[in-house]
Symmetry: C2
Subunit: 559 residues, 2 copies
């Protein structure tokens, strides 16, 4: 580093509840600062209605938190750092779109719409558009070009077109005011560079390809005629969108004077094209081609890249999209995932918590304060306690076998109608044995994804685990390694999404030429590998057959 001037990059990860900013040495990858802030309006539950599965986020939340985390992170650094920042890149959840006016301003930032949830960003997990998604699927399957074929053959209620269609039908004022829409991951760079007008926005290949039906085969988005069949207003909106999209190595522009000032940075800071969190996370987790990177939390997001020559335009059945350049430029990005993972453990915890939650209050033995503390103590220990107990149970051939579809199935072959199941229950099936079966079920769900890639000719040579569960639960990860019969490497970084964004910022800012160079220079490596136990792997292969049979039964008999 002697003969080089130090340069720094900023990565920002907009998650579901909070945003995280990291400031990183662009050459060494050394992390100088990290700052997390929760979205203030979202934290109060505003604009949401969980009963209706309505989840909206106000654009002001994003702006405030961006400014606060960057200023907080800069505050942790020497005073010279701010002047040496070469680039900033951002990832967000998705599909998280907002309708905009003709200038590209999200409607919630325009007069009269400040408190209207339909004018805000519609968070990925908002499920208000189930009917509209079904309508899109029917139309796509009704003949002509199959516009959903590159997103696994099923359009989801979590994706932009369904959400936009739902909102403009629900809300006449929004319908009238809406000229276009923008994904959260596109809006942030557009905002920072002052190029928000629909014709100026640099659109993320990742968001466009995985969620908006953009594909080279039809030269961009599906034609207006397609959307007209759904709603004339949708055709009008579609015509204020885009046909070109960009990979995240591309610079959108530089910080506008206004935002350079707000963030305490200079107008020489390059701003990179945005992308979704797990996609940048896979880069931050040092994914290389044919390595499946699994971000494992309440659900999983599984990302893989493959050489275009290996995949070409071949359709990979049953996965959540295949998009050229959505992860690493020059490679096809493949997305998959399990709808429920940690959520399933949390569900069982809630089932077991019922006596403590509901019956403890009846006692007169202890004070209300002690009850509250005791409840909290016990609830916190349930999953760690079950994990310890489950880890001590030897392999049992006659064990409970569970199906991990309590939240539907995302991959392979998305189906929101299927549900969870358990077989092999006996009077001796105690709570730890059921928990063990649930952990195995989430591992079997992982195996179903890995096997699907293999069956479709996409080789997986390695697995990288990211995210809370990957780092914290050795029981879960060892079980997964045994079930997959593959080693699983755990990335050393605890914030791979923000870190991946920083790598992209280093490319957009001209420090590294290619994303792969940034990975090599800045990567932190791996701090753990779970190796499969051969004997258990053989045994799990047999149990996996039962899982498959149970799955076939449940699918055949689902409503």
């Amino acid at each position: 580093m002697d003969n080089k001037t130090k340069r720094y990059v900023i990565g920002v990860d907009f998650g579901t509840d909070s945003a995280r900013t990291v400031i990183v040495d662009a050459f060494s990858g050394e992390e100088l600062a990290t700052a997390v802030q929760y979205y203030p309006r979202w934290s109060e539950g505003r604009y949401c209605d969980p009963v209706k599965n309505q989840y909206r986020q106000h654009p002001v939340d994003y702006m405030e938190v961006l400014e606060a985390t960057i200023r907080e992170a800069l505050g942790q650094c020497d005073s010279g750092v701010a002047g040496k920042v070469a680039g900033i890149s951002m990832d967000t959840t998705g599909s998280t779109p907002a309708l905009t006016d003709a200038e590209g301003i999200p409607l919630a930032l325009t007069e009269g719409f400040e408190e209207n949830p339909n004018a805000m960003f519609i968070l990925w997990k908002d499920h208000t558009a189930v009917k509209e998604a079904e309508e899109i699927n029917r139309l796509a399957r009704s003949g002509g070009v199959n516009y959903i074929k590159y997103v696994g053959g099923v359009y989801s209620s979590e994706w932009v077109w369904a959400k936009v269609l739902h909102v403009i039908r629900q809300d006449a004022s929004v319908r009238q005011a809406a000229a276009s829409w923008i994904e959260h991951c596109d809006w942030m760079p557009a905002l920072l560079c002052g190029r928000q007008r629909p014709d100026e926005v640099v659109r993320s290949r990742c968001a466009a390809g995985h969620k908006a039906l953009w594909h080279r085969e039809w030269n961009g988005l599906p034609p207006g005629s397609f959307f007209r069949k759904l709603d004339p207003a949708l055709e009008r909106i579609r015509n204020n969108l885009y046909s070109e999209t960009f990979t995240s190595d591309i610079r959108v522009g530089y910080l506008s004077p206004e935002w350079a000032d707000r963030l305490g940075l200079t107008t020489q800071v390059a701003v990179g094209t945005g992308a979704f969190d797990c996609h940048m996370g896979a880069v931050g987790g040092e994914a290389t081609p044919n390595v499946l990177t699994r971000t494992i939390g309440t659900s999983t997001c599984d990302i893989m890249t493959a050489h275009y020559k290996d995949v070409g335009d071949q359709l990979i059945a049953g996965i959540c999209g295949q998009v050229d350049g959505s992860v690493i430029p020059g490679y096809v990005g493949l997305e998959a995932g399990q709808s429920g993972f940690g959520d399933i453990y949390a569900w069982f915890k809630n089932v077991l918590a019922w006596p403590v939650e509901n019956l403890l209050d009846n006692t007169t033995l202890i004070s209300p304060e002690t009850k509250a503390k005791l409840k909290e103590e016990i609830l916190e220990q349930i999953i760690p306690g079950l994990t310890d107990a489950a880890a001590r149970i030897p392999f049992e051939e006659s064990a409970v076998v569970a199906l991990d579809w309590m939240n539907g199935r995302r991959t392979p072959d998305a189906n929101q109608e299927v549900k969870g199941a358990m077989i092999g229950l006996t009077l001796g099936s105690d709570a730890p044995r059921i928990f063990k079966a649930l952990v195995e079920a989430t591992a079997f769900g992982s195996k179903a994804i890995v096997e699907r890639f293999g069956r479709e000719g996409v080789r997986i040579k390695e697995i990288i685990g990211l995210g809370g569960i990957a780092r914290k639960s050795s029981f879960v990860m060892q079980t997964m390694a045994n079930v997959l019969n593959m080693p699983i490497k755990i990335a050393a970084s605890e914030q791979t999404c923000a870190f991946g964004a920083a790598m992209f910022a280093a490319v957009a800012g001209g420090i590294h030429k290619r994303v792969e160079d940034a990975q090599k220079a800045m990567g932190k490596g791996f701090d753990m590998v779970y190796h499969p136990n051969r004997d258990k792997a053989d045994k799990y292969a047999l149990l996996y057959r039962k899982y498959e049979q149970l799955g076939a039964f449940v699918e055949e008999h689902s409503d």
Copy 2:
């Protein structure tokens, strides 16, 4: 009652853990006294090994408890009652046999065998003879006469021949000493009348027909040649048994001077032929032909009687035996049952109790004494609390559906290999919803039995519920009425087994001519009827289809 001398009868019910004696007015059915005593050695867990499913009871336990309960009950009556007792009849669990010497003395009462579990009574739920039962099944199916065809086509490890074969193979000293065997329900009257010699014992039709393969078609027990193929010693033992059997209206004899003295009664007391508990319970519950009497506790025992002309020698597929006269003389007694019922609720309670049982101890917020009390308080409330919460859940078509085979399946088509299951689980499936599904599953299991009787041409015109759950849980019983789409009457008596024994005693003692007369005179009637809700019955018919489909899947894929 003016011109009649008062006469009394005694019924004794030997249950799994305790024996209950009732003293009843033989004309009016008025209950004068009741006394319960727990088996002392059994209560200490002696001679048992739950890990091996070995459950043995010492004959001295039975003798001590008989004497104690009768003396205690007599002590509750006017002094004149003892002299006016006309008869005593006893029911026991079964098949609960003991090996005996040539004089018919249970080996555990002979020198050198006092502490040998293999010389004691082998309780119904002892499952040490699984392999021997399979051997008997293989032999019976290997050609020639099918000696298991009247017991549903499957010989169980809970039955006498499997148990005797197991014990004589396990224990050379017992093998050498064993001359014959006796069922608990036959030994009690034999003991009290002083006619224990194998050739003198009056054998119960009920025990012989349902458990020992006795049938008119082969003039009694299967021939020696059948048993020789299993073990030469078994043939020798078989030849010291019986070919005649008796219904429970038949008097075995009168109390011997020794036992009249021990019990505080006279030698004019007639002793009736014994039978199994649920069979006498059905009589005590006032069962009439074509009425299914269900004793509902941890499991169920379902008893029905049918006119011989309706059944004849037709084999009723998949039930637990059809024996002419096993319940009411002159009618065919049909037995069925669910292997798990209340046990399944208790299992779920134990699953939910895990945090309280295992994590509460870790806290320092409360003292060990308070912890112990709090644990007890919460555990006691789990099933009542779940019941209240489940009763408030409206009918949901997308509900969890469970399969009640956590303890295997007894009827229809006995299969100990099948296990419990659940489908339809979502992240919203909370503890009360799962409990509701388990209650429905036990009701569906009931429906499977009722449907099987119907398919085999045996009409069920009414259902009577007996036992703890039938009397205590209106939620369970109403669900069952809805699922079966039939009214369920609840017998007023809380101790129908002992009461049924008292009715038989009144016949054996010459007070009433027929069992039906005793029922009419002494019966207490019913104190509740659960009527089906038509709307729910229709909805449950659809859910029952799912239960059947799940059952077919589990059976097909069981190990």
